[in-house]
Symmetry: C2
Subunit: 315 residues, 2 copies
C-alpha cells in the first residue's frame, strides 16, 4: 500500500508517478509539497545533501542507470553513517536531460534499491529538465548521540573500515580506456554506507568519524582540522585493495568507508566478527598547536608526500 | 561567532569557506558531513527539496546572482509555508560551472538573505563543478500540526494570498526581449515564502494548502486530485496584477503564493489587517466522484479553458 498523495496531470508528474509506482512501498507520501516526519523524544535529526553530476562524479559510459542511482544514494547515506545516524528518509532531486528520460526508471530502481538496503523510505524529491544528469540526494537520519568529526580525544588511534583503493583502480582503468576488474568496479558502482558499522563503533567507544569520500589522507586532513590535531598515518598499515599500491589506496576517493578515532583498546576483532569487514588501525591522533595541525604520512618510518583527494575546483 | 567545523585545504573548501564567511552568523555547523538538529517533543519535522536550474527555471540574463540565490531559496521555503511549518534549516547543494565561480559570493548572499528573512540558519550543503548552474535547496521546518494538501473539507472555499500574474508578466517581457516593469520583475526575482501567513491561516481554520509554483489552476488541479474533489475557480475573482489579464494570472506559475481551503467564514479582513497582503476567495471545493475530479474555470459564469502551468517534461 502506498500513501502517495495524488498529483494532477502533466508529463513531469507522469514521470514522477512512474518512479513512485516502481518504488512501490519503498516510497512514502511523495506528491506533497513537503514530507512530514515524526521524531522520538530526545532523538536528534541528522541531515545531509550530496550532489552527483554526470561528467564530474561519474561518466555515463562507466555505469548503468541503476548503478548511478545506487551510488548517488549511498554516497549521501554515507554522511549519515559518519554521524552514526539511522536513516529515516531519502529525498531525490533529479535533473534529467531529454536523452536520459528513458533511463529514469533505471535510475529510480537504483535509488530505490539503495534506500531499501539502508531501510530508509523515499519521502520526497523534485524533477527538472536540464542539460546534464544530476542527482541531488538529501538524506535524513536520527540518533540519540550522533558521532561528529570533532569529538576526537588526544591520543586516539585512527581506524578505517574496509579495504581501500578499489574505486581508484576502477577510475584508473576507465580513464585509460580499459575495463576495470570486476571487484574494483563493484567497489565504485556499489558502495555501501556503513550504517550499522558506525552504530557499533559509536557504541564501542569511537569518539569522532568521517566518511572517506575525498580519500583517506584528504579526509584525515579534515579530521585533523576539525580537532586541531596532528594525525600520523602509516602507509604500511593501510589495507589496500588487491593490485593497488598503499599510496594509491590512501589517496583515492569515492570509498565511502569510515575513518574513526577511538581508544587504542578498541576491539577490532569483535567488529570483524560481527560485520565480516576489516577494521584496521592506520594511525594516531594527538592534539597539536595551530602550526602543526595536519596529516603526516609515513612509509617504513620515512615521511612521504601524498597528493590527491578529488577537488572539484582544482584547475 | 560561527561554529563552523574547520575544513582541510583545497579550492573547493576555499570556495565553501568564502561562502561561510559571507554568511557569518547565518550559517551553523557547515563543514561536517551532516547537520544535527534538536526537535521539541511532539513536533513534526517537515522537509522538502527544490531544484533551480539555469536555462530551465531562470536565465542568467534576467537576474543578478543575488536574485538567483534568493529566488531558489524562497522557492524551497515556500513548500514549508504550504505545510504551515516554521523553517529550522536550509541546505544548499550548488553545482557551479567555472564561468559562475566569480558569482558564487553573490549567489551565497542571496541564499543568506532569503534564509535570514525566513529565520532559518544555513546548516549544510554541497558544492560541485558542472556544465550549468544548478541550486538544489533543501529546507527543513517544524510544526505541531502541519497543513497538508489533502485535508480539505467538502464545501470549503478556496482562498489565495497576494496578487497573481507578476511573474508571468515579467516572463512575457523577457521572452519578448523587453525589460519587465519593475514591480512585475520584483515579483519574479524576490518571491516571499508565506511562512507567517500560513501559520495564521492554519490557526484560523484552513484545512488544506498548496503553494502556487506551477500556477493557480495547475496547482488547484493537484489540490483537486489530492482531495478527490471538484474545484471551481471564478476568473472574475482572481486578484490579477496590474497589466495582467485574469486568465494569464490564473495560468502563470512561479508565484509562491498560497492556495488554501477553509470554511467560507474565514475572516479575510483580519488576515489583510495583519499582513497588509490580499487574501481573496477565488472558488469552491466539493468532494466528487472519480470521473469529475478536477478544476472548472469560469468567466462571467461561462466555462473557459485555461492551459499552462509549467511542465518541465512537455515536448
Amino acid at each position: 500500500v502506498n500513501d502517495t498523495t495524488a498529483m494532477g496531470p502533466g508529463r513531469e508528474f507522469d514521470a514522477i508517478r512512474a518512479l513512485v509506482r516502481r518504488w512501490g512501498p519503498r516510497a512514502k507520501g511523495i506528491g506533497s509539497d513537503a514530507a512530514v516526519l515524526q521524531i522520538a523524544d530526545g532523538e536528534r535529526v541528522v541531515v545531509s545533501t550530496d550532489v552527483s553530476v554526470e561528467g564530474v562524479h561519474f561518466r555515463s559510459e562507466w555505469m548503468t542507470p541503476e548503478e548511478i542511482g545506487w551510488r548517488a544514494t549511498m554516497a549521501a547515506l554515507s554522511d549519515l553513517a559518519a554521524a552514526a545516524a539511522r536513516p529515516i528518509g531519502v529525498l531525490a532531486a533529479l535533473t534529467v536531460p531529454p536523452l536520459w528520460r528513458d533511463a529514469l526508471v533505471g535510475l529510480g530502481e537504483g535509488i530505490g534499491a539503495a534506500a531499501e538496503t539502508a531501510e530508509a523510505p523515499i519521502i520526497g524529491g523534485d524533477m527538472s529538465d536540464g542539460v546534464s544528469l544530476s542527482l541531488a540526494m538529501t538524506v535524513m537520519g536520527r540518533a540519540m548521540h550522533p558521532l561528529t568529526r570533532d569529538g576526537a580525544h588526544d591520543g586516539d588511534a585512527l581506524w578505517v573500515t574496509g579495504t581501500l583503493g578499489g574505486p581508484a583502480l576502477a577510475f584508473r582503468a576507465w580513464s585509460g580506456g580499459a575495463q576495470p576488474v570486476q571487484a574494483a568496479r563493484e567497489r565504485f558502482v556499489h558502495p555501501r554506507a556503513r550504517i550499522r558499522e558506525a552504530e557499533w563503533l559509536r557504541a564501542h567507544g569511537a569518539h569522532a568519524a568521517i566518511d572517506i569520500s575525498d580519500g583517506l589522507v584528504a579526509d584525515a586532513r579534515h579530521l585533523a582540522a576539525a580537532n586541531s590535531a596532528r594525525i600520523t598515518i602509516a602507509l604500511d598499515d593501510v589495507p589496500a585493495f588487491e593490485g593497488c599500491d598503499a599510496a594509491e589506496a590512501a589517496a583515492g576517493g569515492e570509498e565511502y568507508e569510515l575513518l574513526v578515532t577511538a581508544p587504542t583498546s578498541l576491539d577490532a576483532r569483535a567488529f570483524v566478527d560481527t560485520f565480516t569487514l576489516p577494521l584496521t588501525r592506520v594511525g594516531t591522533l594527538s592534539r597539536a598547536a595551530d602550526a602543526t595541525v595536519g596529516v603526516t604520512v609515513t612509509r617504513a618510518g620515512e615521511r612521504v608526500e601524498i597528493t590527491g583527494g578529488y577537488d572539484h575546483f582544482s584547475p
